[in-house]
Amino acid sequence: MRRPVKNETASHELPATPLDPSVRAERDKKIQVAMIALCGCWGCTLSFLDMDENLLRLLEKVSITRSSLTDIKRIPHHCAIGFVEGGIANDENIETLEHFRENCDILISVGACAVWGGVPAMRNVVNLEECFREAYVDSPTAVPGSKPVIPYHPDIPRITTKVYPCHEVVKMDYFIPGCPPDGAAIFKVLDDLVNGRDVNLPTSMNRYD
């Protein structure tokens, strides 16, 4: 469901210097991990960084392709693990998640938004028209005298009527709840996966806030 895109070049389409072959070979040997953020606040990605020195241990075995840290816009090749933050709130989110599902072996819903919709899903109890009205037309923070406009343009993703958890759009394999989950919880799940163990997040690490 690609929308017509006009005059748009993504950074990953620009010419780039090829990577040194030896570095490339080293990276290719590792487990490929990709991360995307849909409708969320990037808090889970920050929690990912909270793994601190564990991140270095992990990076001995994994290579991170697309992520907010690497600024790669599309997964360049098939990945073993996909880390999904945020729920589904517009058609671009659906497209990104479906592309991710097709190109990753394992998908993990990370954080409240991916797991059940989270804070963005608070709009699910009002209808879309009311929601737009509050945000753009009757907005209390609107510039006085400005003309109220609801943004609409082919380049702007169309918003979905409700916010959906990721597993209601594609199959998700694992879930890490929390808003955001602790770095330690994310590390535990990734470490289990990377080392071929069954994923087992202990009760003491499980939390919803």
Partner: protein, 234 residues
């Protein structure tokens, strides 16, 4: 009268007529509970304490023990049933833990974590429930009500014993209601009692919010399992 029952194959000697959840806890076996309050009459509304008794699934807080009872608690099918019930409560209302005052002190949240709920297997419903601010010092956040009826039965007007909270309508139309006249007569300690008694964040005392810092909240200090076993051993 002394009787013998078995729980998960272990023989237990106890008193005839004692409540099954309490007997289990006294013997170090945790049966998750949500609506049950030790020492208060059984409500039997939430069914979270479902176990298999002589082959039938029953809510353990409603079962008086009798000689020869065979109980299964740690059995895959019935364990999954209990987990499913908790997951069901999470989708039935709007349980937004990140924005809830009760987070960290909430029995439902603690149970979800205890039973290893990562996500609900049921579709999230996002029902529209209107909150009630009318009482002077109590605020009803209906999104979070699980209809356990603790407040309905145990919080009553001190002079007349009339119910202050009640449940209106049935099924998807059900809603928790508050008698504003009686609620405004409640002394401050009774309001706190009601807010504490509520296993979720539905009954909220106005002007009181996030008092305990993250990491030092009720169920972070001690888990719901530890509390249940400790309280009942005394």
């Amino acid at each position: 009268m002394s009787i013998r029952i078995t729980i998960d194959g272990n023989e237990i000697i106890t008193q005839d007529g004692a409540t099954l959840v309490d007997v289990a806890a006294e013997n170090g076996i945790y049966i998750p509970t949500l609506c049950h309050l030790k020492g208060k009459p059984c409500l039997g509304t939430c069914r979270i304490c479902s176990v298999r008794v002589n082959g039938n699934v029953m809510a353990a807080c409603t079962v008086p023990v009798s000689d020869g009872l065979e109980v299964e608690v740690d059995e895959p099918e019935v364990s999954d049933m209990r987990k499913a019930l908790v997951e069901f409560l999470f989708v039935e209302g709007n349980h937004n833990c990140p924005s809830c005052e009760k987070s960290g002190r909430c029995d439902l949240q603690a149970l979800g974590c205890e039973l290893g709920m990562m996500v609900s297997r049921f579709p999230y419903r996002f029902p529209v429930r209107i909150r009630d601010h009318a009482a002077k010092r109590i605020w009803l956040e209906r999104d979070r009500c699980i209809f356990c009826q603790r407040c309905v039965q145990f919080i009553r007007d001190r002079e007349t014993s009339r119910k202050i909270f009640s449940i209106k309508d049935r099924g998807t139309h059900a809603s928790i209601e508050i008698d504003i006249e009686l609620a405004d007569k409640m002394p401050p300690e009774q309001i706190r009692e009601a807010a504490e008694l509520c296993p979720v964040g539905c009954i909220i005392e106005k002007g009181v919010g996030y008092n305990d810092p993250i990491g030092r909240r009720k169920y972070e200090i001690k888990s719901i399992r530890e509390r249940a076993l400790e309280r009942k051993r005394k």
